[in-house]
Amino acid sequence: MTEITYLTDVSLLTCVVQQGYGDAVLKAARDVGAITGAIGYDARGYGARERLGLLGVAVEAEKDVISILVSTDQQDAVFDSIYRACKLDVPGRGYMYLTPLDKVASYIPESVMARMQKSRTEDG
């Protein structure tokens, strides 16, 4: 049995935005230098559309849901970047939330592993 590498200090940032803005979310995350894994799917939203009366027709009911893995160091920078890029202060545009995670595991290429071990020995 191989040894599992745990990755810690990581959060899941989930954005619910109007359909078509999903790419803007990913772009915003990359703009502040976050190299992330992400998954996205389509959903139907309720809320703003019902509450704005007839103006609600301007709010797309179809949503893009994007979940991004971010390190806790980067999470606030990414959060702010996405907020501004997607103009989440516009009514009905969308919202996002951060979920703390205990740990993450995945395949890590040998070269990356070696680099991580090297930097740790240098620090310590």
């Binding site: 049995m1 191989t2 599992i4 990581v10 899941l12 790419d23 990913l26 772009k27 990359r30 190299i35 992330t36 894994g37 992400a38 998954i39 996205g40 799917y41 893995l69 979920t99 703390p100 995670l101 205990d102 740990k103 993450v104 595991a105 995945s106 395949y107 290429p109």
Partner: protein
């Protein structure tokens, strides 16, 4: 099957495990073995578009990585089983292989119990 307790549903300390797996049937195998070997039925699998950390790191700045079809598997388990299950699922879904996906362990949550009716034959 139990009837609902008078004071509303009983909440149990739990964890949510999320896997993002390649769309090659691993998710079905995982769900099957979770049920037959561990008796876990609070699990789901959904189709998503995903872009990997490694693909992201290789993509040129200003571009977005090409997304792939992936399966997102979510499993809710009792808090004390979570750690062991994390490793079990890591092995079972072969997440350690290149392109194997990723597994996340979330922060503590609460969940309600869930039961299936008995004596119903399996779907083929």
């Amino acid at each position: 099957m139990s009837t609902l307790p008078e004071n509303g549903p009983v909440l149990q300390a739990s964890r949510m495990l999320t896997c993002v797996l390649p769309d090659d049937g691993t998710d079905k195998e995982l769900l099957r073995s979770l049920r037959s070997e561990k008796g876990i039925i609070r699990a789901s699998s959904a189709s998503c578009l995903g872009s990997a950390i490694l693909a992201d790191a290789r993509t040129r700045p200003g571009r977005l990585p090409q997304p792939y079809l992936v399966r997102m598997v979510k499993v809710v388990v009792a808090e004390e089983e979570a750690e062991a299950l994390f490793e079990y699922m890591y092995e079972k879904a072969r997440i350690g292989r290149p392109g194997g996906g990723v597994i996340l362990l979330g922060a503590p949550i609460h969940s309600t119990a869930y039961a299936l009716p008995e004596g119903v034959p399996d779907e083929k």
